[in-house]
């Protein structure tokens, strides 16, 4: 394991990182995902050395760096904003870490030339950072970090300031980093699509704790708790009580609505349904309801509509524009009803 965190605790005002344990391998791409204020950036900055844990240990390549200052950790932190070192031009920015480490000028030039070729930014070296586009700034940030040969690359929402057209190439570039530079990447984000595209491993943070970790498919298809399911795209999550049946379970929602699921589960649960699982004007043996369209939103793929069924709202997708107030027939196939136990997280 290249990066290991053992029961890391940290208190910052009223916020607390609570017993965080993580293991990251040499060429792993770890995504830490969570909502705003879940603690993901605080955790990343703790690994970077901005905060000192009140207890627990952080090991890099077997060495305990829990109390080491940032410059002694050999990790490279790339922040959400482009942290340009003014008034240096792009070349000055990229060479900064090498200059700080006392690397001689000829060697600096050699290392820099290699990295700027890799990232396709040779033509930007004389430019001032403020004149660069979001994608160019992010490439410069990565070059500046990678040129120092860090043991770990820490990325704090690196795609948040980039326009959608530029995201694709940057995602390809990021995905190639672990193998190309033989280092692990720890990347925090709140965007599920970004996480799903990049992750080799996903850790879900909620209220300062890692509540779930696993491979992306497992987290996406079989989340184990409410908050993970919410992040993984289950728009509609309704509380109910599940009872076992021969083919799975029946969930009686709080409003009396009954949903069939193929999952065998009982007790207090959340019935989770993605918009693509809610079908309009089709028929099925189970889960047929009548509902009223209460809201319609335009989306890239067509329309997202909110349907009120017995005072509980479900989200569905439609190709043609439906009318608000229409009464529609709705089917939710059994295999579209995913169920997580109600554990309080």
């Amino acid at each position: 394991m290249l990066l290991q965190l053992f029961n890391v605790d940290l208190t910052l005002g009223t916020f607390k990182l609570d017993s965080v344990t993580l293991n990251v391998e040499q060429q792993e791409y770890l995504i830490i995902i969570g909502r705003t204020a879940s603690g993901k950036t605080t955790l990343l900055k703790t690994i970077a050395g901005a905060y000192r844990p009140s207890s627990g240990k952080i090991l890099i390549d077997g060495s305990d760096i829990t109390t080491a200052p940032p410059e002694k950790r050999n990790v490279a932190y790339v922040s959400q904003i482009f942290s340009s070192f003014d008034p240096m031009n792009v070349q000055g920015n990229i060479e900064f870490g090498l200059r700080a480490r006392g690397v001689p000028k000829p060697e600096r030039a050699q290392l820099m030339n290699g990295i700027v070729r890799d990232l396709g930014i040779e033509h930007l070296l004389d430019r001032m950072p403020a004149t660069l586009s979001g994608g160019e700034q992010q490439r410069v940030s990565l070059a500046r970090a990678l040129v120092t040969s860090p043991k770990i690359l820490l990325l704090d929402e690196p795609l948040s300031m980039i326009d959608p057209e530029t995201k694709g190439p940057i995602i390809r570039l990021l995905k190639a980093i672990p193998e190309k530079y033989n280092i692990p990447v720890v990347h925090v984000t709140h965007e599920w699509d970004e996480a799903y595209a990049l992750a080799g491993l996903i850790a879900v943070m909620h209220q300062g704790r890692i509540i779930e970790a696993g491979d992306p498919e497992q987290i996406f298809n079989e989340p184990r708790n409410y908050h993970t399911a919410k992040l993984a795209g289950f728009y509609d999550m309704h509380k109910g009580v599940a009872t076992l049946t021969d083919s799975g379970s029946t969930i009686k929602l709080d409003n009396g609505l009954e949903l069939k699921s193929r999952m065998k589960i009982s007790g207090s649960v959340y019935a989770c349904v993605r918009p693509e699982g809610v079908k309009i004007r089709t028929s099925n043996e189970f889960n047929n309801f009548e509902g009223r369209i209460v809201e319609v939103f335009r989306e890239k793929f067509g329309f997202r509509i909110i349907i009120n069924i017995n005072n509980i709202e479900f989200t569905a997708l439609a190709g043609s524009k439906p009318t608000r107030g229409d009464i529609v027939k709705v089917t939710i196939p059994e295999d579209s009803v995913y169920v997580v136990p109600n554990t309080g997280i």
């Binding site: 900055k45 970077a48 050395g49 901005a50 200052p69 940032p70 410059e71 950790r73 050999n74 990790v75 490279a76 932190y77 790339v78 922040s79 959400q80 904003i81 942290s83 340009s84 070192f85 003014d86 008034p87 900064f96 870490g97 700080a100 480490r101 940030s141 500046r144 970090a145 120092t148 860090p150 820490l154 704090d156």
Partner: protein
């Protein structure tokens, strides 16, 4: 600049016990008449009170000396420099420093190469405000350094000289000195603004 900038960085970037007390002490020159600050300094450093006997024992006298006058106006005026620079440092996202540090930069290297280039204008603004405030000081100097023994002569700070001249000779006797001081200060500020504009 030398006193205010490190202090400003300390206050802008750190939370520590008694920070509020230190903050309040820095603001004393804004809170109270400067005569009172002069009295505090005399009580602390005169030959018979506070640290005075100890300092005199090692050959340092702060009352009616150049060093005493400098320390007095530095304390009274540094507030402006500290607050201006502190605000400028607070405007810099801490991520910039963390990025630099993880690249291998020590705190000192980061301060010199990352922070100072972003705040030098505020340092310069703070410095000139501090200088102007020091030139304008009367109250505390009346108590601490009414005159200064310097290079074999007794020298009066300009503001005290003008005040004494006004009391002794009346308006006509001090107009030319007042005008001279005003022209010097005004010219300094105009040159400073022009240089700043030229550099930017």
């Amino acid at each position: 600049m030398l006193v205010g900038t490190p202090f400003a960085y300390l206050l802008a970037r750190n939370d520590f016990k008694l920070k509020e007390v230190i903050d309040a002490i820095i603001d004393i020159p804004i809170m109270v008449p400067h005569v009172l600050v002069g009295i505090m300094i005399v009580l602390a450093f005169s030959s018979t009170y506070g640290l005075g006997p100890f300092l005199q024992g090692i050959g340092i006298n702060l009352i009616d000396t150049l060093i005493g006058a400098i320390i007095t106006v530095t304390y009274l005026s540094a507030t402006y420099s500290i607050r201006v620079v502190e605000s400028a440092i607070k405007m810099i996202n801490t991520d910039v420093e963390l990025t630099a540090r993880t690249l291998g930069s020590t705190p000192a290297f980061t301060f010199i190469h990352v922070i100072v280039p972003r705040i030098w204008k505020s340092i310069a603004n703070g410095a000139i405000l501090t200088w102007a405030r020091a030139v304008a000081e009367v109250g505390a100097l009346l108590v601490v350094a009414y005159y200064v023994y310097f290079n074999g002569n007794y020298v009066y700070p300009a503001s005290i000289y003008i005040y004494e001249g006004y009391v002794a000779l009346g308006l006509a006797g001090v107009v030319k000195y007042s005008a001279a001081l005003l022209i010097i200060v005004l010219a300094t500020f105009i040159i400073y603004r022009l240089v700043l504009r030229h550099i930017l």
